[in-house]
Every structure is written in structure tokens, then in C-alpha cells.
């Protein structure tokens, strides 16, 4: 099927001449809903008809044949630096070796086609840009072909394109040689996209374009920014969230060689120095007296008691059908279980950092961020500037996992405050301890379920209460994610679960306690806890019914073909049902999130209470796979991230303070713990889903279900830690 897209219907496109020669293709989405921070005027609401500045382009064709692709999204490991250029190159018939990639600045042109802000998150980049970037390639190709037709005096239809050239018989003209002429042409109103059968790049495993610079050490991360006059700052922050500075004594700090200033800022006390080492020593020497505020008694154990109490009562209704009480009374058997999961830090390998240079009417910011537009607005607000006076330079992100997408713009706002107070350009750098203790965690959750089954062991009454903080409260997404007090992300994977929906009588409700711990989306958001709960519960039901875990799921999911496709492929490839080495047991879990369906099969042994995961077999149906190799990499990544959290990671509180500080006590996955991983892709023409997150949710329950198979012990609390020792 040829996708014949009427561009003007959805997007506004301009082709303009580059000041330095060449062709620029720019899109804007003037009608997309924009979300702005309170107090920021929508300065760019009416972009249509305005000449777009040259940096605000999706593609530049240089007269030297370079093709510069501007990324509306941030590269944080997920390989979007390669996937989006693949979309353009496919339609453009580009010479892949000529592709250069740049992060786009913060500008309205680059707002997410579905989310309304400039954001990289929600495993959404590829599907949300699938049309826009292909259109950019197709449009550029059309202009170049027209320019060639004019130059050669032949019909457009007689020309073909290949590997960066327009070809007419024996004559080949490079795109670079046509760029200037193409820039003077009128932009076509429509473009025809290639039929999938004609794809040469989409669907082919393609090597990362950012590979070479990340292998030789030249890739630039936010942490690597340097220019003359740049200082380094570290901020002493309250050991308790919400605490404030009562007083401080900087005399010892100022004696450290290289320390220039010690200043109070809204988030604490900043030490500004020549370099990190001096700043750190200066901060270590600093004496701060804190007013710890109202969170000084935060305690994880007390929180769990409180959550448990709340879970004994119904919360606000998230999903409801039938008559739960009558059905429960008639049930043959009832299963009642409580599950809990801790706060989790994202802890990307690159500690948070942000460089800020403020001049009279402008500000420049260099950082690795998933939300440059929001950061830009936050900086503008602090400085009394218009957003467009703040230039965002997004560098490679040394991991994001959601931490670098903060609607509160915490690390950027703080860095702006520090630079403003210091009066010099400053790079504010967090230590690992600052990162682990710094909040914006995956919230702690407790789920309680009471499930009545019929004589065949199938659920007929499912009552489910979830307890945990809301992530969306106070964010730009609040308006459409929170309905009647229920944050959809708190119950995603439960309220919309096929297990719950397929139970004729069900009730899902939510308690949202207000706790002074900053929380944020952590890779796979609500699914990071709900899949563990749901896939454990369904395993409990299967065992209670004396059924095989896989067969039981297949029966309940019989009307869910995409779940089944992922289940069946993983089952086949893992050899489900076939004998394993002595002492090794399997567990399975399947979960839908971010539009994709993933099954994980874990092979696990437990020796003297020590759990070892030997092999993970993963199958995914995400619809079209644009780059199968980066898809596989994301599954490997999700398995590592999910396993580390399931096995060892937790952030806990005592006396208001975080008890962990660095990788010795906030434990994450390491090489010796990593199992063998196999990833299989369901060949699918279904709707495209994401790949950055969906691999993670079924990891933990696959492992704990295998532990149950091995030991008969049901893990209902994460991390697994030494529960079995």
C-alpha cells in the first residue's frame, strides 16, 4: 500500500535556502496542543507563516553532500540517533555514509507529535515520528528530483534516485549539487511514501551512527562541556526532602585552593570552584545547619504500615464491573495476597549535570535532557527572559531512564540559580551520592488483591487495591492523566489488564497518599510495579488451579492475539515444558505496555537461598521493527535494568533520610550477574508500539515465578535480596 499523505492537512512544511547554501526542510505542527509551565506565555503559538530560522529544521542537504538530520528527540542509549535518520534515508534514497546527526534545539517545531511538549519518553519516539521523518525524506527527494528535472530538461517521472544521486540514464547528479536549486522550488503539497515492499533500510539491522565516537571517547556528554571561564559547582542540599538552610559556615570551604564562592541558592548552598575536585573538597568542608522541616520523620517501615492500612479499604475507583461482593461470596476458592515494591533511583551512569552561561538578554544551557522545552521555560522563568532567549544545547545523555525528563526541571533550574547567583558561567555537577539521595524516585507501591475463582480455578471476582504516590500530579500531563483523582499511571497494567477486564466481576481502586518524597517516571512507569503484581497473581492462580503457568495464561488470554503471539514465541524458543539442567526452573510472564507485548521466560536456580538467573528468553510484538538490532539491544537493556532492580535495588528512609548513597548500597546489575539473553521478534504488521520500556515489566515476575517453581516460595516483596537465605 502506498501511503499518500496530504502534508498540509497535518503539518506545515517549509523548504528554505540555507544561508550557507543547501536545502533545509522544516516542519511545524501549529495545531498540536502545547503544554506550558504555569506563568509562561505561549510566545510561539502562531508559527504558521513565519520564516523558520535555519537551525529549526529536520534535514539539511549541504552542497558538500552532507545530510544533517536534526533530532527532535534525545539520544540516551535507545539508538534514536540511528533510527530516525533511517526513516529519512529510506525515503530520500540517501547515501548512508553522508548522514550527520544533531540534537535539535528547544523550539516549537520539535514538540512531540502526540504529547504536545518536546520530550523523549514513553517509548514513543519511533512510532510518533514514523510519518514525520519519512515525510521529511520524501519531500526532500521530491524537491531534489524536481531540481534535476529542471536542470536536465527532462520529465520528473523519467528520473530515479539512488544512494545520494538523481539518475537520468547515464547521468548522475549528486544531491549536494542540486541542493541550492531545490531550495528555490515551491514545496509540494503532497508526497508519496514508499510501499513497505520497497523498503531497503527500514526493517534492516543497522549499526549505530553514534558508535564510533562512543568507542573512542570523543562523544560529548553534558559532563564533558568545557570552555574558558567555566566554573564547577556542587550544591549541598538538605538531607531531608523539603529542608531549608538555617545557617552555614563557609570559612573552611573558602580555604580550599580553587574554591571561589560559597553562595546560598534556593536548593541549598553552592560551592563554586575551578574544578570538580576543589568544589567537592569545598563542599565537604562546608558546615550547614538545616531546618529539616516536616519530612524529618519519614520512615520506610512506617510508610509500609500506613500503606497496608490504606489497602484494607477501597480507594478511588479506577475500574469496576459486575457485582464483586456477590461473586466473591459464590467463589469456590479465594486467593488473597499483598505485594510491595520500594522506591527506586534511576541512577544513570552519567551523574546529573548542567552548564549555564547567562548574558544580558540571553542564556545558554548545555545538558543531557529528555525535556529541553520544559527546561528552557523553567530557565526563562527564573531569569525573567522569554523562552526563545534561552538556547538549549542537548548533548548525549549518559542514560536517562526517565530521570532526565523532569517536569519540575530540577537539575536545570538549580544550575540556572547557581549561575545566576555566581555571576559566572557554571557547570553544576552532582556526585553519585547526590544522585542516589536526590529524589525523583519510582514511587513505593503496595497492592492488595482478593481474587475469587470458580470450580475450574478461573477468576470470577477480582478486587484490587493499589497504594502509592502519583507521578503525574503537578505535571503538564495531570489534566489528561488524572481523572476523578485517579492517576492512570498508578494503575496502568492493573485497571486495563486483560486478566482484570476478563473477570466478569472486578473492582480496582487506588489510594494516593501524599508523601514528601519527590517521585518521577522510572523506566516503564506504573508497569514497573503493576506487571510484577499481576503476573505473580496470575501465576498464583495457575498453581492454585493445578495448571501449567503457560497454559493457564493462554486460556485467559485467548482473545488477546498479540499477548498470545509473544507468549507462544517465547515458549517455543525457551523450550517451555522440556527438561532443564538439574536445579534449574522456569518462570514466565507476559505484559503489554507502551503499545508493545513482551514475554520473558526466566531460567533460575536457587542454591542455599542464593538466586541465580541463568538465561532469559524474550519475545516481543511491537508491530513493525524499524531497526531489529537496536530493538534487541533495548530488550537486553530492559532485562539488565529490570533484573538489577528485582534482585537488589531499593531506596529506603529512616529519620527522614535516604539510607543508600552509592553503588555499594544502591546495588545494580553487574557483568557476573547477567544471564544469557535471547531476544525474538514477532513478525507483525500490527500497530507500532515502543521498545525502550516494554521489555522491563515482565522481567521481575518471570524470575519470581521461576523462584516459586524452584522453591515453592512466593516472592511478594521486591527486591528479592536475601529473602530466601
Amino acid at each position: 500500500m502506498n501511503s499518500h499523505l496530504n502534508i498540509s492537512r497535518r503539518t506545515f512544511i517549509k523548504a528554505t535556502a540555507l544561508a550557507v547554501g543547501g536545502l533545509v526542510i522544516a516542519f511545524s505542527t501549529p495545531n498540536a496542543k502545547r503544554f506550558l509551565l504555569p506563568g509562561i506565555a505561549n510566545a510561539n503559538a502562531s508559527e504558521e507563516g513565519k520564516k523558520l530560522p535555519t537551525p529549526n529544521a529536520f534535514l539539511r542537504v549541504g552542497t558538500d553532500n552532507t545530510l544533517t538530520v536534526m533530532l527532535a528527540h534525545s539520544e540516551m542509549g535507545q539508538s534514536i540517533w540511528t533510527t530516525l535518520p533511517m526513516l529519512i534515508a529510506e525515503e530520500l534514497d540517501a547515501d548512508w555514509s553522508k548522514i550527520k546527526v544533531m540534537h535539535a534545539p528547544a523550539a516549537p517545531e520539535y514538540i512531540h507529535t502526540a504529547y504536545g511538549i518536546q520530550i523523549t519518553g514513553g517509548s514513543s519516539t519511533t512510532w510518533s515520528e514514523f510519518d514525520r521523518y519519512r515525510q521529511a525524506g520524501a519531500l526532500t527527494r521530491a524537491l531534489l528530483v524536481s531540481a534535476a528535472a529542471n536542470k536536465l530538461g527532462v520529465a520528473v517521472e523519467s528520473l530515479k534516485t539512488e544512494n545520494g544521486f538523481v539518475i537520468s540514464g547515464d547521468t548522475k547528479i549528486s544531491y549536494g549539487d542540486l541542493a541550492e536549486a531545490a531550495a528555490k522550488l515551491e514545496t509540494p503539497k503532497t508526497v508519496t511514501l514508499k510501499a513497505p515492499k520497497d523498503w531497503k533500510i527500514i526493517g534492516k539491522a543497522t549499526k549505530r551512527l553514534d558508535g564510533p565516537e562512543k568507542i573512542n571517547g570523543t562523544a560529548m556528554f553534558g559532563q564533558d562541556v568545557h570552555f574558558d571561564g567555566l566554573m564547577t559547582a556542587m550544591v549541598a542540599r538538605s538531607p531531608v526532602f523539603g529542608g531549608t538552610v538555617k545557617s552555614f559556615d563557609a570559612s573552611a570551604s573558602k580555604k580550599i585552593k580553587g574554591v571561589h564562592q560559597v553562595l546560598q541558592v534556593p536548593s541549598g548552598v553552592a560551592v563554586i570552584a575551578d574544578n570538580y575536585w576543589a568544589a567537592k573538597q569545598g563542599r565537604d568542608a562546608l558546615k550547614v545547619e538545616w531546618d529539616l522541616g516536616k519530612n524529618a520523620s519519614l520512615d520506610s517501615k512506617a510508610m509500609l504500615v500506613e500503606f497496608r492500612k490504606l489497602a484494607n479499604t477501597q480507594g478511588l475507583t479506577a475500574a469496576s464491573m459486575g457485582d464483586i461482593k456477590t461473586a466473591a461470596a459464590k467463589a469456590s476458592k479465594t486467593l488473597e495476597a499483598e505485594y510491595s515494591l520500594p522506591y527506586l533511583a534511576h541512577s544513570p551512569m552519567e551523574p546529573l549535570n548542567c552548564t549555564v552561561k547567562i548574558s544580558k538578554d540571553a542564556c545558554e544551557i548545555w545538558t543531557g535532557t529528555q525535556m529541553p522545552g520544559t527546561d528552557q521555560q523553567a530557565a526563562a522563568k527564573i531569569l525573567g527572559l522569554k523562552p526563545e532567549q534561552v538556547t538549549m544545547h542537548t548533548l548525549f545523555l549518559g542514560g536517562g531512564f526517565g530521570r532526565r525528563a523532569n517536569p519540575a526541571a530540577d537539575f536545570v533550574s538549580e544550575a540556572v540559580q547557581v549561575a545566576k547567583a555566581a555571576g559566572v558561567p557554571v557547570k553544576t555537577v552532582w556526585s553519585r551520592e547526590d544522585d542516589v539521595k536526590g529524589g525523583y524516585y519510582r514511587p513505593m507501591y503496595l497492592h492488595k488483591a482478593k481474587i475469587g475463582v470458580d470450580a475450574k480455578g478461573l477468576p470470577v471476582a477480582w478486587e484490587h487495591v493499589a497504594v502509592g504516590q502519583s507521578i503525574m500530579l503537578g505535571t503538564p500531563f495531570e489534566a489528561y492523566q488524572i481523572k476523578d483523582g485517579v492517576d492512570a499511571t498508578s494503575v496502568e497494567g492493573v485497571a486495563d489488564s486483560p486478566y482484570v477486564k476478563g473477570t466478569p466481576n472486578h473492582h480496582v481502586s487506588l489510594h494516593t497518599p501524599k508523601i514528601g518524597v519527590p517521585v518521577l517516571w522510572w523506566r516503564s512507569v506504573g508497569h514497573s510495579h503493576s506487571a510484577f503484581v499481576m503476573e505473580s497473581l496470575i501465576d498464583e492462580l495457575a498453581h492454585a488451579a493445578g495448571r501449567d503457568s503457560l497454559d493457564y495464561r493462554r486460556q485467559i488470554l485467548k482473545d488477546h492475539p498479540r499477548h498470545l503471539a509473544a507468549l507462544n514465541l517465547a515458549a517455543e524458543k525457551s523450550g517451555w515444558g522440556k527438561p532443564l539442567a538439574k536445579g534449574v526452573f522456569r518462570g514466565i510472564a507476559v505484559h503489554e505496555s507502551f503499545g508493545s507485548f513482551v514475554t520473558q521466560v526466566a531460567e533460575v536456580s536457587v542454591d542455599k537461598g542464593v538466586v541465580k538467573v541463568h538465561r532469559m528468553v524474550c519475545a516481543i510484538d511491537c508491530g513493525l521493527s524499524v531497526n531489529p538490532d537496536s530493538l534487541k539491544a533495548q530488550m537486553e537493556s530492559s532485562i539488565s535494568f529490570g533484573l538489577g532492580a528485582a534482585m537488589q535495588s531499593e531506596v529506603t528512609f529512616k529519620d527522614g533520610m535516604v539510607q543508600q548513597s552509592n553503588f555499594h548500597d544502591y546495588k545494580v546489575m553487574r557483568m557476573n550477574e547477567m544471564p544469557k539473553v535471547e531476544v525474538y521478534i514477532v513478525q507483525s504488521t500490527e500497530k507500532m508500539g515502543g521498545v525502550g520500556e516494554p521489555g522491563l515489566p515482565p522481567v521481575a515476575p518471570a524470575v519470581t515465578n521461576a523462584i516459586f517453581a524452584a522453591t515453592g516460595k512466593r516472592i511478594r516483596t521486591l527486591p528479592i535480596g536475601d529473602q530466601l537465605v
Binding site: Q223, T232, M349, N662, M669
Partner: protein, 152 residues
Amino acid sequence: MITLNINGKDVQLDAAEDMPILWALRDIVHLTGTKFGCGMALCGACTVHLDGQAIRSCVTPIAAAVGKKISTIEHMQNDKVGQAVQAAWSAVDVVQCGYCQSGQIMAATALLTSNQKPTDEDIDAAMSGNICRCGTYPRIRAAIHEAANKLA
């Protein structure tokens, strides 16, 4: 003034003797390929070679490097084993966010320099101090085996 030999060149630094090599490299010499990850020798992002041995530069003071040779990721293109490791990293397409990869490559190069045919257990022993939050471990393992085969 302290004189350090970095990637084959003598460099004079005006820095305190207790400054970790990491910060001398990053903030004074501006060789930023070596990364800061934890500051406590817990993650390996800062791994460099000191006289060919993999060390954690975030906890090793520059005083300890006087009279020795510091080698960083920027120098690996001149090292036979380093070249093979980088080529294998490329062939396997190991990297994701990439932040830890300088340290991973330095650790892998040190391993393959001392052990031409590492087993999976040898790799676990040599590489488990290098954290990758993106979970590139299976590909790192595959790339180390690939480099070993190419060097054999």
C-alpha cells in the same frame, strides 16, 4: 607543579598531589573520554591504565602516577590490543548511552593484554567492577571474545 606522562606525553600540572587522576585528566588536561561515575571505585567508568594496569582514576591521586605512564581511551587507537577491542566493540555494536564504555574498553583491553584467551569466568572477574546501566553486558562479553579471536 607535577609532571605526569599521559598518553606518551609529559604534561605539567599545577594541581594538588591528592587530586585524583580522573579530575586532572578531565578538568585540567581536558581529556574528557575518561568518565566520572561514582567517585568511589565502585563503577569503573573512570578506568585508565597506569603502566598498563587498569586502575580506577577517581580514587588514585596524581602523586601515585609520577614516573609512570597513564594511558586513556584517547590513546587506545595506538595500542594493538586497544585497537582490536575497539574494532570488536564496533562489530558487535556494543554501545547504548555510551557513558561507561570508555571504562569498559579500558578494562577489557587490560584483560586481553594479560590474558589472550579469557573464559567467561575470567571476563566476569575482570569486568564486574564496571557497571553499565544500559545493560550492554552480553555484547561486552561477545566483543571481548571476538577481540580475543582476532588477536589470536
